[in-house]
Symmetry: C3
Subunit: 470 residues, 3 copies
Amino acid sequence: MGESSFLTGFLMISNIKTIIFIALLIGTFFIVKHFEKKKVKFSTRTIYATIIGLILGVIIQLVAGLPEDPSQVDWLQEVSKWYGLFGYGFMDLLKMLVVPMVFVSIIRVIINMKEGDNLQALTFKSLGMLLGTTCLAAIIGIVVGNVMKLGVGFEATGIEAPEMREITPLVDTLRGLLPSNPVLSMADGNIVAIIIFATFLGLATNRTKKKYMDTVKPFIDLVEAFYKIIVSVAMTVIKFMPYAVVALLANTITARGLSSMISVVQFVVALYVATAILFVVHLIIIAACGLNPITYIKNAAEPLLLAFTSRSSLGTLPVTIDTLVKKHGVEEGVASFTASLGANMGMNGCAGIYPALMAITVANMAGIDKDISFYVMLLVVITISSLGIAGLPGTATMAVSVVVSGVGLGAYFPLAGGILAIDPILDMGRTMINVNGASVTSIAVGNSLGKIDKDIYNRKNTVTTEDRSA
Amino acid sequence: MGESSFLTGFLMISNIKTIIFIALLIGTFFIVKHFEKKKVKFSTRTIYATIIGLILGVIIQLVAGLPEDPSQVDWLQEVSKWYGLFGYGFMDLLKMLVVPMVFVSIIRVIINMKEGDNLQALTFKSLGMLLGTTCLAAIIGIVVGNVMKLGVGFEATGIEAPEMREITPLVDTLRGLLPSNPVLSMADGNIVAIIIFATFLGLATNRTKKKYMDTVKPFIDLVEAFYKIIVSVAMTVIKFMPYAVVALLANTITARGLSSMISVVQFVVALYVATAILFVVHLIIIAACGLNPITYIKNAAEPLLLAFTSRSSLGTLPVTIDTLVKKHGVEEGVASFTASLGANMGMNGCAGIYPALMAITVANMAGIDKDISFYVMLLVVITISSLGIAGLPGTATMAVSVVVSGVGLGAYFPLAGGILAIDPILDMGRTMINVNGASVTSIAVGNSLGKIDKDIYNRKNTVTTEDRSA
Amino acid sequence: MGESSFLTGFLMISNIKTIIFIALLIGTFFIVKHFEKKKVKFSTRTIYATIIGLILGVIIQLVAGLPEDPSQVDWLQEVSKWYGLFGYGFMDLLKMLVVPMVFVSIIRVIINMKEGDNLQALTFKSLGMLLGTTCLAAIIGIVVGNVMKLGVGFEATGIEAPEMREITPLVDTLRGLLPSNPVLSMADGNIVAIIIFATFLGLATNRTKKKYMDTVKPFIDLVEAFYKIIVSVAMTVIKFMPYAVVALLANTITARGLSSMISVVQFVVALYVATAILFVVHLIIIAACGLNPITYIKNAAEPLLLAFTSRSSLGTLPVTIDTLVKKHGVEEGVASFTASLGANMGMNGCAGIYPALMAITVANMAGIDKDISFYVMLLVVITISSLGIAGLPGTATMAVSVVVSGVGLGAYFPLAGGILAIDPILDMGRTMINVNGASVTSIAVGNSLGKIDKDIYNRKNTVTTEDRSA
């Protein structure tokens, strides 16, 4: 206790290095500000910020002497905490928008649906695309895992007691998605429940307005007003993204270190290779829709970089929707609906690639024979569970628990402990490809329903922050 | 662990019988659908659904060989879980409506009150009727319990340590009913708190609109709009009731079995006899209001069957209110107010009949002399506690804990263990008579305030689902 | 168990004295009602109620024979519980208004801001004044503590294991203030988060309305309507204040007793002396603003007495805002903003005087040498932590934990145990000076921004309850 307790426990500044690196972070903010003044494009600035964050993180690790376990170095933890305040503080402000934005935008979508529109088609196509791409992700994971022989050479003989997460039955998860109390669902941030409740309200409004337009008009007008306002709040918050990106990436590198990656470098490489391959597949889907994949990459940079640095699909959601509408030209309704769903179900990275790679690794470590029935089982289990783990906390770890035990390898799960230690490094790639999967789904579904404005899509990313703030 | 863990732990389908009976349930849905197409009346369809659910449940129990403890048979538990998804999933959607519906409808009632209307009269009459019928229920329970000599012959000598629920003091319960944070009250589903907050808002709006109509009109209009919409959502959900009723009843029989009832059959019979007698008393109250009791039965079928099969007074609330308004002709305001109160306070079954029967049983088991002061005490305790346990979870068990210890029998409570095991079977009757008590209260109060449209009441149940969906 | 369990555990009436004193409280209500009928001014009635509550509490303690530990006397606890139902029940109804009132009034303030208005100036001036007065409070606490030689003569030799509250790091507290889910923030009553979210909404509305007035007008109108209504609800609830004040003060004296104060009387005296000095300093600030301090005292009586008797800054908030607007003439926006902030940050009593006195006491008890660096450190720690403990439960105890360990005395903290036992007695003075600090801040900030209507301020408190209910 004593003074040190005030400095370490309360202020979290007990070392001159902590102060220096907080100052350095604020210094980088001036650089980012400089680019803003020079009217550098928003997405270019975000890329610059990612590079600056990377450099800052590496410098901090070098100053700390590349420790194997950064959690043992007090000042690294302090720097990480303070960087987190800036980075995750920004993410908190984005998350603040998720519940009201999803709620209001879904109601709005459905109120504005015309006779010909088909909510069922939208729902089924979205779910189908999400599950389909997750299945593709799993296939890629399986192939990459086998080609790279993950886990081979690490065969274990004695196995310790398993420490898996307890599995939540599919039935309970599905019931948990229902909005049995909409206010509680909102307080809990249960997005699927909010979508369902909003859908009911929207459908009822749509039906009621035919006969009683005068009565329900105040509700419709309020929804429109609040949507306008919440989108405007989103614009304001998103403007700070480049600053946050610096802090977020530097924070992850500071807290996890570079040397901790070495022992599991093969797995990290495999995950990023699989992610890259899936990204190419996503681009092929875009091309198959008759859209230019190069344009897609340029347009999608912002949400992808934010997902990569923040590791939060849900937090990125306001940026994802904004980009889909403003840059990819997807109709607001379709964009809100599919992106919200995709932030919770059929996550390509967390529920596709990652559990597939883990299952291969664990199977190899355990020295299990993998026949065709093993692979079929694996694909079925991954695809179903990508639906069934929706909305549960710790999605990726939960997915791995369900999948690994689903293919009969539960007892060998502890072998993968070393991989879990560097989870945040993996989570960056995973989250990015989750968001990309949801975006591609949104575009493909929007395209098939004729809800994409190709003029917007093709105007080659000329939107700048100035346009955004309009 | 292993594959079985995926099937049993995650999918909950480990036996071919599970699949067969899930398929059979879906098969019954087509039968129900068939009746719908044939334009069979909604309440008739609900009765058919109850019969189908009963048959389905009995078949399942027969196939399982009438096990004494169904919780030991894995596939029975799996079937029960999956049936629950359909049945309780429906109840979740109904519950979803409770918080917004109670909140908005109470505000609306009070805004629309005219000069002559008396909120105090409504409140006091409602509470008086609820407590009065609960007291009647207790008297019936005492008489039936004594006539059937419940617990006589099961006198215990050695008594084990009591395992009662801890009693929450009345003062704390009353304070807990106050809405110290209305958003928290909504998230917690604290209905009485929501009623109080909504009453304050409604009164303030009513007062303010005299001077500042222009300012507060947007709020009044929004309340009207949202009420219209939420009622329309209720209509949509309620249409699925017959399907849910099949699943709910089959689920209860599957999970609890028939043979488990034998050991406590006397208590089950007593409860249903008392329920039947109270039902007749309720009909006499209806007749005393100058209304036709036969018409009442026809009109009330839907909420009563839903309460019986779902065992949730609160979940049934949207259907109860809808029936009171559309079939019994009670004014919307009175119906919302009394039915919402009655779903939480003065519950005839849970807080009246059940604790009375339990107290008699336990007293007989313990070999206690019951004199006149015992019975007076019992009535006083039951009536006060029916108010004081409002809003607590596990109302019936809490009521028994308060009452049994209230009359000095706390130490003998464990004797009733066998009865608690089949609680869901008892809960069906209890919940039905709760809802009936609230409905009768609503009609009697509405009648005494001149707020019943007798033309609607007497049009002999010609409302069909088609009318409903209007 | 048994009958006594029903009376003591459930009803909390096991002694004839409990009934007599409940009856006596209700008797005092008729006296208060009598004053109301005689058209005695509202603030005068509140003062009378405080005196009645004091007398009632002392009578109860005398009847109980001035026990050293009132928590050992059952009927005292029962009386306290029942008095609490009236007193804290009233506070619950006031607290009910806090979340909607803060949310709506902040949005309204910002929507109504004109071009020239400066939100940043308002924010910084408010925070500056709050921290400044907290620092002043700490200086007064240090001086009083030293003059009265608190803790001298109680030096301890053997020290037991410390039992401090765990310190929440500043960074975590700051992030906890962000509204990462606005519905959760509302359910949790996280006022600073609600202010931030409301500020974003207000700014966005203000920006959007320039271009899209038609679209956002329904939202603006609804905010105005709801504000009008919630203020009207506040008026209704506030009218019951004199009754609650009797119950609240009698409750505190009943539960804590008079004799328990003797052992720590020196500390109690010191706290109230420091509070009185700070009150004078507050009046000097008022005078420095060119306003009449005597008028201030007359105008501020109601919130100060409610704070004193209820010990809840947050619960008093609706009364504080109402008084600032209606009596001190502060513009509604400034009043809502600064008073809401001041109920959570820079609390003069809880985070200023109290931790200063405690630190001096503990230092003297521990026999520590206090040099100039000790005092500087103490002031810095108090001022920073008054910001950093915002919104945490048990603010005062948390402040002491942070401050005492912040100046290196954590190990000696247990020495102060006797003082914590009479915390409610201290809390009355602390809460009053918190509210006074927030009110003075509001007036000073309002004055510097030209947002005070001096005609209202100077009309010499002629507002009566009758005006209030208008």
